[in-house]
């Protein structure tokens, strides 16, 4: 099911310590000493936009840290409809439930081409026992997952469709470039609880007003100020 791209093992210690996203990632707080406990393979994996990472109900033997890209967690309802429950950005942890459940609870799919680290549950369980750093870090991750859910609810499922689209654009904004990579309209609809047509209309309207500008098909330049005012976020420094 999952796309395995195992790399050479045996150098996890070095690789994790040098990881570019380490300061944000699950293992960020580990000391060199802690790393000595890592004996099982931590693999890098890459998946293309649209590819599945895991599905709800799949056996959960590893959890993931997102290095690059964007992953959506979807909750499928009995009636076949779906709702995106959370978007995970680089630095975030995916599939924490592997630590306390034998199966995943969401359908996880890459929205953009993504790179992740796959960490076996056994590794995390061991570090959880032996490294107070990681133990604390893990609680933080759980907390973050809850906060992210709350945020998702209040930002992406509250207010008018216009507000939600504006907030999504800001959420996806890359601070460095001031641009964002927008998912397909259908995905946007599932994220915001609106129809694809409404999503399309609003984005088209944003473009006409110059609030966003298309650089390529899915790459947009954003007028953050304008978006914030649409989103109902008022500039504190006014």
């Amino acid at each position: 099911m999952s796309q395995d791209i195992p790399l050479s093992n045996g150098h996890n210690l070095v690789r994790c310590q040098q990881c570019g996203v380490r300061q944000m990632a699950l293992f960020s707080d580990l000391t060199d000493d802690d790393f000595k406990h890592v004996h099982l393979p931590v693999d890098d994996i890459s998946i293309d936009a649209g590819a599945m990472l895991y599905n709800a109900g799949d056996r959960a033997l590893s959890l993931y840290t997102l290095r690059h890209g964007l992953v959506k967690l979807t909750h499928y309802l009995s009636d076949g409809s779906q709702r995106v429950v959370r978007l995970v950005r680089p630095g975030g942890t995916i599939g924490l439930e592997a630590l306390c459940s034998d199966q995943f609870s969401h359908y996880a799919e890459a929205v953009q081409d993504s790179h992740l680290c796959r960490i076996p549950v056994a590794v995390v369980e061991r570090l959880d026992r032996e490294s107070p750093h990681l133990h604390q870090q893990l609680l933080q991750r759980w907390h973050q997952a809850v906060l992210d859910s709350d945020q998702w609810l209040t930002q992406m499922s509250t207010g008018s469709a216009r507000e939600r689209v504006a907030r999504l654009c800001l959420f996806l904004r890359d601070d460095k470039t001031g641009t964002c990579l927008l998912p397909g309209r259908e995905d946007i609809g599932a994220m915001l609880g609106i129809t694809t047509e409404t999503a399309s209309r609003i984005i088209a309207d944003f473009r006409r007003r110059g609030v966003v500008t298309a650089l390529t098909r899915s790459h947009f330049s954003l007028d953050s100020k304008a978006l914030q005012s649409v989103a109902g976020i008022y500039d504190e420094a006014a």
Copy 2:
């Protein structure tokens, strides 16, 4: 801030072990041995409907297990509007973030008269270290909090207002009696992301159709079957 009703301490061991909600509550898995580690006071507290348990930003020194009643966790937005992020039912844990943050992240308020156990963070941290049972139980609680959030999003923030109200009624349903205690219309609005008028209209309509029947001002008898069909839940045994 919080309503302290300290009871006689020193008998936590006995009191927790005999607790009626113990099988559902945080300490459910503890062995008699584990209880020996509990030296700090675990207090019973009671708060009336409408009273605050804690506020976002309050110093988080304890967490809570709900014994009876109903507590809502609200996220306040910068613009003054609010959104109920989760409802906690008896057996649930409130304020887990105390374990990894020095302040609470929500505004917690009783929707019905409630009884809770207040457990100092130090107690949980100690048991977390010394009892594998509780450690596992804690991870479960975090996971449950995430699942609850997801559920809240998909059930209470998705679909038409009618569906949402129906789902809320079913969510609040007491299995024993087949009845439910409905919060005020304004609270319902904040929970479902609809206006109080819409909530009122829908409930009035449910009453006219006999889908729900008022026993007292806030106590209703439910026709679960009818509600399920409104909620879009189809009887598997059809």
